[in-house]
Amino acid sequence: MKSFENVLPKLVIAPGFVLGFAFIYGLMIWNGVLSVTNSRMLPNYDEFVGLEQYVQLWDMDRWYVALRNLGLFSVLYVGGSMLIGMVLAIFLDQKIRFEGVIRTIYLYPMALSFIVTGTAWKWILNPSLGLEKLMHDIGWASFSFDWLVQSDTAIYCVVIAGIWQSAGFAMALFLAGLRGIDDSIIKAAQIDGASLPRIYWRIILPVLRPVVFSTILVLSHLSIKAFDLVMALTAGGPGYASDVPATFMFTMSFTRGQIGLGAASATMMLAMVAAIVVPYLYSELRSKPHER
């Protein structure tokens, strides 16, 4: 009897985990194999070329641009979303009227994919159609906002749109965190003589640290995977000025017929993801859940 009760749970999750493992690791290995072949239009396992694809990758200007953009984008996007999300969450937690409505307004961009809103954003950010034109129309002739079409600023437009989409999510996470805090801690701090900003800075933010941490994690992995966002807004342009690793990989593998090179870049992306995730996993698995 006992042995059955012990085995059943394992039996139950086994199929899923076998599939999941095949899906995740099988395909990861497959990608690794591809990256050392000379696959072009279609996967081709015959022609082993060693690390040549990697050499070529690290020799490409476009790859560096993609990396630089990723760096810029991640920092600004994660930082911006967190900051805005945090401020909104704190403000929204001050017993606001219509909180439900406002919260929904902040959250809805999460519901929409960039395939959906990309058109609107492209339009708003386009100098001859959107915001700039609007300002000109209402008489502010010197107003200039042409980031989308400038090589060196296009990535910032991606950041703006990215923040637009994710800040609400960060807000929801923080709000959830704030709501989870025991009321009496704040009361105690008031009694202890701390001012409101001090209470937030010294007491509440430290308590929210795990939430901050997981928000950073979620957002930064979103930023590495950012694909729809860039595709819908700039498609990597002008030129390849706003290319990021995800679009780079896609372009190489699917439009350029350089699957080997694309696979190499995918490996690098995986490595970057691992660099973020593995420490997280480590801490996740170390903390004994029942001790919480």
Partner: protein, 284 residues
């Protein structure tokens, strides 16, 4: 007293400005969808339409052409529904069972196993496109809705497992123990005790999965056949179809139609989302 009013004012102002920022694109999409071509050209992007003109909506929904196909978004929409509903339900149920085992029936190595699966949450999905289609072809599921459902389930499994596992970890073990004393077995405990307690996390997971699956473009474009294309592909076809006068109004209407189900979900169930998160869905 005065300081209090002032700070309230600041709070509401900031919240209002932010609300404006978040609403702007939707507003633009909405007003544009009600304008006709002439108004779009003459007015600016914030100006209100002259009236409620539903023409572009009907066009986008039922008669707009992509290629030689002039059925609008309707068939795509149906495809998406047929894909999203089973995929969301299956991946959620799957995650719930996995999370249940991984939190309440731990065995040696289960944490490690979970760690490996968790890595899947973070995998960039472009990597899997080609091998996945090979697998789907092998299974005879390529270019079918069933294939898409399978892919979404696999891709979503790691995430849903994570959600449920973290949530269930917070449920006291005594509850399971009590049920075991009461004579309930693995499945009965799950169905009678655990599932009824899962409402908040179920809501979060359902919303999350629905959003992801409904909005997915990559898998949709890569794994669908001529008559199993989801709405994102339909929308893309419509919006990227180049004709001399870009009918922004139709594009916008189409975009709103494509985003409507997910938006509705957020508006109707958004409060559960925050509640569910509070209940421990996302912990550090």
């Amino acid at each position: 007293m005065n300081a209090k009013t002032l700070s309230r004012l600041v709070v509401y102002t900031v919240l209002g400005v932010a609300a404006f920022f978040f609403l702007a694109p939707l507003y633009v999409m909405l007003v544009t969808s009600f304008k006709d071509a002439e108004q779009i050209r003459s007015g600016n992007l914030l100006s209100l339409p002259h009236g409620l003109n539903f023409e572009s909506w009907t066009l986008a929904w039922s008669t707009a052409c992509t290629g030689v196909d002039c059925r609008g978004l309707k068939p795509y929409f149906m495809n998406s529904v047929m894909m999203a509903v089973p995929a969301v339900l299956i991946s959620t149920a799957w995650g719930a069972v996995n999370g249940y085992v991984l939190s309440m029936w731990k065995f040696r190595g289960s944490d490690l196993l979970f760690g490996f699966i968790l890595f899947g949450v973070f995998m960039p999905f472009q990597v899997v496109l080609l091998p996945m289609s090979q697998v789907l072809g092998f299974l005879g599921l390529s270019s079918s809705i069933a294939g898409l459902v399978l892919v979404h389930c696999l891709a979503g499994m790691a995430g849903t497992t994570l959600f449920f596992r973290n949530y269930y970890t917070a449920i006291p073990r005594e509850l399971v123990n009590a049920a075991r004393m009461d004579g309930a077995g693995f499945w009965r405990i799950f169905v009678r005790i655990v599932i009824p307690m899962s409402t908040p996390i179920l809501m979060v997971t359902l919303i999350w999965q629905f959003t992801n699956i409904w909005n997915d473009f990559l898998f949709g474009v890569a794994f669908s056949g001529a008559d199993s294309k989801p709405i994102t592909v339909g929308l893309n076809n419509m919006a990227n179809t180049t004709s001399s006068v870009k009918s922004y109004n139709v594009d916008m209407a189409a975009a709103i139609i494509a985003g409507l189900p997910t938006m509705l979900v957020y508006v109707l169930a958004g409060q559960y989302f925050v509640k569910g998160l509070t209940a421990g869905a996302v912990k550090g």
